[in-house]
Homo-oligomer: 306 residues x 5
């Protein structure tokens, strides 16, 4: 075990050995093994956006085996997906790569008054499928906040008890934030803090924009001159907001875009002290060879950052 | 066990032997035994539409024994019904045909703000009645999505634990989809994907129309030229949307209609790679002799398709 | 045990011996013992309509002992009441007559958006009080349908497990049906079917009127010429709707009225194949001697009908 | 044990010896021991109306010890209060007087759409604190009726199982009754009946006024000439509505008022067959000496009534 | 153990030795050990107001270790925080200072119809993390009162059973009180009483203003001349409202302000008989040396007050 991995594990001093062992498993897997950096492949878009929007650009992705194989070949730290996609591969690829079961999901068919994912899996499922962690999405800013936080609380406690760490997707959305505010710096930093306070082991947020949403927060950012001009500055602030860097924070790539654009963003994330990337559409919607190339480049950037 | 049945079972690699044995039981029953194809008789219309609308055309159907006998004589893979109809026959026909207990149902008397069936049976009931599977209806697009998905999640997990597979009726409906959109290709494909992601073993959807509902999806279908002119094309896409054909997808017949019309539709379903038909009103509202004839013809088409 | 009682029990082939024994107990009690016919005294009006409206016409009825004694003397098959009324007599009259604990009740003081009774007793109470069955009211047509059906589902399963059959009061009411529609033939038949599908052992509905509520149903009734001119015709259709007569269906008397009017209605119920009467206000609001006389006449009609 | 206490206990023939023993404990305590009459001191006003409104008139009452000592010195049958007030004295006064834990309470700070107390204690608390009974408030007429009745049902069953009787405060209130109707004779009688049907052992209502609220009830009261001119007449009717006097019904005093006014009301309650008084503000808001004097006078009236 | 600590423990006569031992642990820790006075450091602002608004003024506070170290060095009785902040330190600082796990929290991102914190931790978490007490916030005046009080009831009972006392933050807020009324004397006194009645061991309220909110209460305050001119007068009344001083009541400092202003307020709190201060932003938003100085001064004032 590298010194860096040991250092990161030391931040989780209240967790039991089971949780620490699974965190170590995530950090000791793939090309970034031992660096304390992460590149995770998440594929929940079939559920969240629908099958054709997700897989028509690269129809190989309709097959659940495609993604887990991509993650293995690319040397990702882990592969994250909803229940069905993991059911379809967990048996045949047992032990090949750490799996993260996403325990709640939304579809794009229903219109709910406030954003709130359905709980579609359980800790028992994660154990049954041999997963190394559970994942859960919260929408800070949603009017259904309490239902989401209370479900998460139960799941984290239940997962800890069986040695599973929790990855929290913390996406501000709903009646309490504007559309632009969803990626505002103050809001993304708050989303990271909130996930950390809820007991998340790994936190996934979107790269923040140079915009401040909340009037009360804006005053403080301006008074204390919090740097926010470059993406690296903003990443640094978000990492600070997650217990001064003592919680693992990784960043999503968002919509599919050009290779250079992706890599430029990743470089800023790395420079700002981000712990890694979680990259879905930019990976699986490319032909496999290109996806492997891109993921290799992303990993190289993160590996070099420390 | 035929090679095809073994192949299909191999897709369910994370399931325990109990679930696989019941899937095999469904596939090794009736005239289509061993082909991996399905014709299932479902009779929930007494609950869903009322008794006279369902059984007045063929009053023999008021008697719960009529349907199970029809399914046995026709050589169906299984007979599916709500609790009461199964209670009335499970004891006397024990072992004669696999039974599927439909665990939730709606009536046509109540007006709810958003479509949401009541949970009217349990896994314990399914076990008590000797069933081979449970059934559950979701309405993707409903504002009550979360309640439905969360109840389904619990039931699938509970059923798996006792070796029962789950058949999901996935019917888009509610505030998130237009009336026409309920059978739009993108929406039906999404409904199939969603059921698969939720862990369904067998998915029942309606045959899709050559129509696209969601603006975001439409762009993708058009850009990538997803074929959708013939029903066979559309069936093929829906099967692809269910994990590239690695989940069993069967199609309902809908309203009673003429024999030729039914068979023409079934031929397209078979040609497109559908795994079979679930045929209610078109079977039990015909006089028994005609129903047996029709079901035999349907089975022949499915058997010949591979 | 008479052949008729054995025949009726044979319809409940999926039930355990405990449930069958209690059904037999109901059928082998009182003047109608062995006939497969029922006259049950229900007294829930104190809860549902208030004490004075229920008992001022015959103040002896304020005393809970009055009703159980009336039921015993009249030779009823059973006495049904809410928790409090049974608590007050179950100890002292233990073993004298089968008791049915009504597990949910409404008062006339509250105004709820949609009709939904409160669950006011449990299966554990029924066991503790030595009851032979539980009773439960559903309001098909209510916007609170799901809560009612789901509570009933749990109670039926729980009751079955301890050998108690379930009597379902199935009263269409709420936003999905018009006031007149509550006793429409199609709606009452639907209410009987729905209760049967939910697993009711005994179904109580109101005598249907020669009126059709639902447009879709109306077409079918007219097309297939379902007879509905006489009350006997309509009773026959409702019994048919309850699994072609393979579930026990009994009819309520409704508001207090003249003796001849009551008996005329009962004659039609008997002629149409109804399994009996459940008669509350027409019994306990008369002076005891008259009530006994009326109940004897009602029993005579039912006994003669087969 | 006096014959009267034995007689009253005989009305609870379905209860277990534990419940009967606690009912006996209540009836065999204090100055009214053995008479079957009750004077109970309830102090929930600190929670329901706030501390200053409750205790500023006699500041000794801020101290929780004051009330239990007042009840003991006055020779009350029991002292009833919410969790906190009992926590503060149960240990030090263990065995000195039967305690009744009020399991739900409202404050006057919140505005809820319909009246519904919060459940603030449990049967486990009552056992832990050595109580002789639990108390619970329902608001017949509230749109939240079902939640209240269903919680009460659970609590009564749970309490019975551990030998605790239940005192129900039955206060009509909410969208289904007018302000004046809250103390209308028909409504109070209905509230007493409803509590009795729910399984209450002791019922607390307000003294009814000579007013009828419900149109349907009014017709019946007038047709049958139910006497209602004097308070004694009305008390008699309410007691009749509680199972013809076979359930213990006690009456509250309401707002603080002059001694003569209080005693005049108590005389009518006693004359009408009421089982006693539950007297809060009229007791604890007076200086202790006056309170003891008043309570002694009230007890004398009740003792003399039989 | 000092006589004063013994005296305070004697007020909790119904609690088990485990709860008393933890109360004693809180009172026997830090500079105020043995005095029965409290200075607690609470840091939930990262969750409640967001990270930058909380920690940008003194960025050392982004690190969860900063706060627990501050509390230890300052000689506080305890350190209170949400789950995440305690997870991050409980292991490494085990045994160094009593920890209080705040079991519910709100963020400032969501807009809920009525204030209601999410339950974000459990008694099991508190035990797992070695805490000496749990904390819970209620909003008397909120339309979600019942959900909050009922959750608190469960948590207090559960915590007691494992020997943990409960600290209740009682903050009037919501549709039932005006903005100004949130710190009105009558409302704060009511909030203290309500927390005490719910079974709180330690009650935290805000220092009340010389304002009366509720019309009914105002009449009583005026009639009985309750003193309220100085803050000390008002503190005295609030302490009286908490069972005449037999429950521990501590006061928060509110927004960050000048040192003299803070100390002036603390002097009034001490003079009025308050049991201590719970001081967050005024402590951790100052540079550490200044914070230690301020906390020392606050402790001195409280120590001298008796």
């Amino acid at each position: 075990m590298t010194a860096r991995v040991k250092e990161i594990l030391s931040w989780y001093g209240s967790d039991n050995p089971g949780v620490k062992a699974n965190l170590a498993r995530l950090m000791n897997t793939g090309r970034l093994a031992g660096t304390g950096k992460f590149v995770i492949l998440p594929v929940d878009q079939g559920f969240e956006h629908g099958p054709a929007r997700s897989f028509a650009p690269n129809p190989a992705g309709y097959d659940p085996r495609y993604h887990v194989e991509l993650a293995i070949e690319a040397g990702c730290n882990a592969y994250a997906a909803p229940l069905g996609f993991l059911e379809a591969v967990a048996g045949d690829y047992a032990g090949d790569i750490p799996l993260i079961l996403k325990l709640n999901n939304s579809d794009s068919l229903s219109k709910l008054p406030e954003p709130c994912s359905a709980v579609t899996g359980s800790v028992e499922d994660a154990l049954r499928l041999g997963c190394a962690a559970i994942g859960y999405t919260i929408y800070p800013g949603s009017g259904d906040r309490n239902a989401q936080l209370e479900a998460l609380r139960e799941l984290i406690l239940e997962a800890k008890a069986v040695g599973l760490p929790t990855v929290v997707w913390s996406y501000p959305r709903g009646g309490g934030v504007s559309k632009e505010g969803e990626t505002a710096l103050d809001v993304v930093a708050y989303a990271a803090q909130e996930a950390a306070q809820l007991g998340a082991h790994i936190i996934k947020v979107k790269p923040p924009k140079a915009f401040l949403e909340q009037a009360e927060a804006k005053k403080v950012y301006e008074k204390h001159g919090v740097p926010m001009d470059t993406l690296a500055d903003r990443i640094r602030h978000v990492v600070q907001a997650a217990f001064n860097g003592r919680r693992i924070v990784i960043f999503s790539g968002g919509e599919a875009k050009g290779t250079e654009e992706v890599l430029a963003e990743v470089r800023e994330i790395a420079k700002g002290g981000g712990f890694g990337s979680i990259m879905g559409r930019n990976a699986f919607q490319r032909p496999k060879a290109q996806a492997l190339e891109l993921l290799a480049a992303v990993m190289e950037i993160h590996a070099a950052a420390r």
